[in-house]
Symmetry: C2
Subunit: 202 residues, 2 copies
C-alpha cells in the first residue's frame, strides 16, 4: 500500500472492490413488518468492542429493465410515487416477491405487467445496493431487446398507481440528456441509463 | 401524443421529465421513529377513489462527493455496511442532519470528516431520489476539486464504522471499469461515477 504523494489516503490497486464482512450482532428487535418491508434495529459490535444501534430496513430486492427498440428508443414508464409526491419517469421495475422466481423471469414479468412487452434477448448489466447505510435492498438491471407486444387479450389489468401509468419511448441519447439535466431522478433509472451509456462508450 | 408505430406506448417529447403530483392521504400512522429515520404507513386515495396503504421510510436526505485530484484520481472510502454485511467502496457521503446547513456545506463537512480533505471548487452535478417507491430520501452529488489536506491537528476522530474506514485513490477510468465489472455497487457511488463519465463524454 502506497500513500498518496500529497493528500491523505492510499493509492488503490486497479482491481479494488467491495468485499464481504460481518460484525457481531448483540441484539435485534423487529419494530415493524408488513407485506412490503420490515424494519428492525440491530445492535452491532465494532472491532473495538463498542456497541451501536443500527436501523435495518428490509424491502424485497428489485429488478429493473432497460428496454430498447430497433430505433434505439428506451421505454420509460411514468408513475406516481407517493413518498416523494412526484410523478416519475422510470425504467420498468418491480420487486422480487414471487418465491423461487429468477431475477430474469421477474424482469420479464414486470416488463409484461407494466408495459405489455415481451423481449427475446436479455443481458444483465448492473448489480447495485440501493441504500446500504440502512437497507438490505439489492437491485439487478437488465437490458431487454427484440421487443414485441403482449397480445391485447393477455394484458395485465393495472391497478392503483399503475392504472395511472403512461409508457413513453424516448431516443436513448435524449434519456442521457434528461438525466444530466436533472429531469429524470429515480436513482435506479439514472444508474441504469448511465451504465448503458458507459458500456457503449467502451 | 403519437403512438409508437409497432409497440405499446407513446413517443415522448424530448423534454419529458419528472413532475410534481400529490394524491390525497386519508390516514397516516407513525410506526417507528429514531434519530436516523422514521417509518409511517399512509393510506393514499387514487383518482378512482380506491384506498391503498403505502409504507413511507423517512431518512434524512444525503449528499455525496466525487473528489478528484490533479492526476484524475477519484477518492473512494471503504466502509463496513451492516445491513448488507459487506465492506463497500463509496464516494464520501453523509446525511443532512445539521439544521440550516446548505447541501454544499454538508458535502464539505463530510469530505473533511471522512477523508481529511478540503476542496476549493465545488460543482453540483446530480440530484437523485434514492428509492421513491417507499422512501422520501433525496440525494445531491457534488464534484470537488482543488483538494488539500486538513491540518493534522484539526482532523476529526472517527468512530464506530468510520474508525475502520480506509481512503483509496483510484484513476477515474479504473473506477468506471470497477462499476461496469460489478466491483463497486453502492447505488449513489455508481450513479455519481457514471454521471461524471457521461458529462465528460458530451
Amino acid at each position: 500500500m502506497t500513500a498518496h504523494p500529497w493528500l491523505p489516503g492510499l493509492l488503490a490497486d486497479p482491481l479494488i472492490g467491495d468485499s464481504d464482512e460481518s460484525w457481531p450482532v448483540s441484539g435485534s428487535e423487529v419494530k415493524h413488518q408488513n407485506g412490503y418491508l420490515s424494519l428492525r434495529v440491530d445492535t452491532i459490535v465494532d472491532p473495538q468492542g463498542g456497541e451501536h444501534p443500527r436501523s435495518v430496513v428490509q424491502p424485497h430486492g428489485a429488478i429493473g429493465v432497460v428496454a430498447i427498440d430497433e430505433h434505439d428508443r428506451i421505454l420509460l414508464v411514468e408513475q406516481y410515487r407517493h413518498p416523494v409526491a412526484r410523478r416519475l419517469l422510470e425504467i420498468p421495475a418491480g420487486t422480487l416477491d414471487v418465491p423461487d422466481e429468477s431475477t430474469q423471469a421477474a424482469a420479464a414479468r414486470e416488463l409484461a405487467e407494466e408495459a405489455d412487452l415481451v423481449a427475446e434477448d436479455w443481458e444483465s448489466i448492473l448489480r447495485l445496493l440501493a441504500t446500504p447505510g440502512y437497507s438490505t435492498e439489492h437491485w439487478e438491471v437488465f437490458v431487454a431487446t427484440g421487443l414485441s407486444a403482449v397480445p391485447a387479450d393477455q394484458r395485465t389489468v393495472r391497478e392503483a398507481e399503475e392504472a395511472d401509468m403512461a409508457q413513453w419511448w424516448l431516443p436513448f441519447g435524449q434519456a442521457v440528456d434528461a438525466v444530466l439535466a436533472g429531469r429524470i431522478t429515480d436513482s435506479m433509472t439514472v444508474a441504469a441509463i448511465l451504465a448503458v451509456q458507459a458500456q457503449r462508450a467502451r
